[in-house]
Symmetry: C2
Subunit: 376 residues, 2 copies
């Protein structure tokens, strides 16, 4: 993997760059649609490519390990071959789902014991097994196995956890560096900064992660319930420590406003279930602001969903029709809203990139944060 | 509406024709995907047109009347404008849903009292109100308000019901002929033959319906649980009475084999929820036969779903991937399987048409019925 930093905004730390993987290039800043179980929910692969213009998607190691299982993915020739997405893929480490979904989890130095939330089966994840699993899934970018601390989190717990995450990182790196990709293309490993909302822990963690000199770095443990100000403060602080010549990935963030603010702080990569999950509940992100399409006011609005955004779903279907579909629990409603929201997220980071290249990001961001946050 | 009968097969009663409406032409024999509440479930409008190659879709009057409601459809400018489908639409009369879905229904000479299955609200449908409702929905082809008798059905009940359906037909025709389409294009009314599985009742009904000389005729009250032999016998009998120069629509039929057999008997139009409903449950109709994609045997089959059928969904996605999606209850599974099944149904009637035009339908049908009915 290669990262070329092309430009940094004149009045912020916002950056424009290009990541090159064996499955193609990614223009940063970028948003990565979440394809939990090998599918971005309610969206066809060609829609991801042609309508949404996604450049990289995410897969969840926990879900893929449970279903369809590693044997199937390996027989298919890796996740790209299995789901037909031939552009870059990033997988998380599965840790977040173990902590948020699984039953009877027990974290020990060696790894994490847990039971499947689906069938109660018992499993044990270790830094080494998670590297092997992600080798088999075959994502271009894979994540270190960490503990994502909840919010709020006691200082002592956060400190101990962060040190364990660091020890686990060493084990991840050892295993990763002594193994190879299975399908003829290269993979890269991103370590993850932890430390909850404690600045000194974040400093220690970021310095440790930076010292490993991997090809990219991630910031975890944020967007887990803390105030946005804390998230911004920690992100700002960590971005000041992580090397500038490598991409920075802020995990699980966030609203359109969160993304714009964190681009300004020097983040290059984002992922979040919000655009797809909220779409299925009828919350639309548009170039004009946020729409709750279930609201009665849209029932006889026969204007296109988001004409300024462009594209099939946003210009062909009307707000009134989409409201009918969503309130009637019709699958097509989830399909249309998911395309709308993801197209908007990709548009937003693409516009941010243009503004960065024009040294106009900071002032554009101020206007845009207000616009995309307003409720219509 | 105009119907041009182009050719009748040399060795069966199978016919190839063209129906012309103000929203375009339909090549018969044709299958009409069911778009219950203004959406063919899990399928985008452009997929219906470009991938599935649907020429006409169905709308359900009962569902559309309940949601979004007539005021919204009228404000949108009719169903075509509301859902963006600009090719022909046919609406049923709502009667079938009143009998199968609604609560506390009471049939009287004047019409049917019932309560909504969704919110318990009370409603009263009459032949006149159903004409007005379908005028407002704005389908190109609308159906008479009938009673669809269940199976089994006592002879006395079937006889009385058939006579009431005939009286209701007169009221439908009176109301229809004294009103006009609301949106600047013409609509046409199809009467419906009833009579359960009693040949003499079917004779009376078909003769009565034929005497009305409408632009097309429908056969109802079949595919409601009776043996396939009874369905074929009644269809054969009724097709012998209905005029040859008008399209014949067999309502709610059926499996691929049912459709081929009834084309041979002289039916021109079909609709059924089977391809979409069964798709969502993992049952695939393919050019090679029927697949239960939930079956373990498909989990590591990484061949395309139906390469011979062609098209995006059938050639891009593999059986193993689709099995994973369906068993994981992923929306994309319903999307892919729905496109596969509808594309297959439209391909099947298109192939039938070619064979009819080549005077080769009867023998092709014998081979094809076996092929499309076999379980893979």
């Amino acid at each position: 993997m290669q990262f070329d930093l092309q430009h940094t905004d004149a009045k912020s730390r916002a950056r424009a760059g290009t990541i090159t993987t064996d499955h193609g290039q990614i223009q940063t800043p970028i948003f990565m649609p979440v394809g939990t179980a090998g599918t971005v929910k309610a969206v066809h692969q060609r829609e991801l490519k042609e309508d949404i213009k996604a450049q990289i998607i995410l897969g969840n190691t926990y879900h893929l390990y449970m279903r369809p299982g590693l044997d199937i993915i390996e027989q298919a020739g890796g996740l790209h071959k299995f789901n037909g997405w031939d552009k870059p893929i990033l997988t998380d480490s599965g840790g977040y789902q173990v902590y948020s979904l699984a039953d009877n989890r027990k974290i020990v130095e060696e790894g994490v014991h847990f039971q499947s939330h689906k069938d109660g089966s018992r499993h044990f994840f270790t830094p080494e097994s998670i590297m092997d699993i992600q080798r088999t899934i075959g994502a271009d970018i894979i994540m270190a196995f960490d503990e994502c601390t909840p919010y709020p989190c006691e200082y002592d717990y956060a400190e101990k956890s962060m040190h364990m995450t660091n020890r686990w990182l060493d084990r991840c790196i050892n295993r990763f560096d002594e193994t190879e990709g299975k399908y003829g293309y290269s993979q890269t490993l991103f370590p993850i900064v932890q430390g909850s909302v404690y600045k000194d822990l974040r400093t220690q963690s970021a310095e440790y992660i930076a010292s490993k000199e991997r090809e990219g770095n991630a910031i975890g443990g944020l967007s887990v319930g803390e105030p946005a100000e804390d998230m911004y403060e920690m992100t700002d602080h960590v971005c000041g420590i992580l090397p500038t010549d490598k991409p920075r990935y802020l995990m699980g963030v966030g609203t359109p406003a969160n993304i714009l603010e964190c681009i300004a702080l020097g983040v290059d990569m984002f992922d979040c279930v919000m655009p797809t999950r909220n779409a299925r509940n009828g919350m639309l992100f548009t170039t004009q602001g946020i729409i709750n399409i279930r609201n009665e006011k849209w029932k006889d609005d026969f204007t296109p969903i988001d004409p300024e955004l462009g594209g099939y779903a946003s210009t062909f279907y009307t707000k009134g029709y989409l409201r009918h579909l969503i309130t009637s629990n019709e699958i097509l409603g989830a399909q249309i809203a998911s395309i709308q929201n993801l197209t908007f997220y990709l548009w937003l980071v693409g516009e941010a990139r243009k503004q960065i290249l024009n040294d106009n990001f900071a002032s554009w961001k101020e206007t845009m944060v207000k616009k995309v946050s307003q409720r219509l």
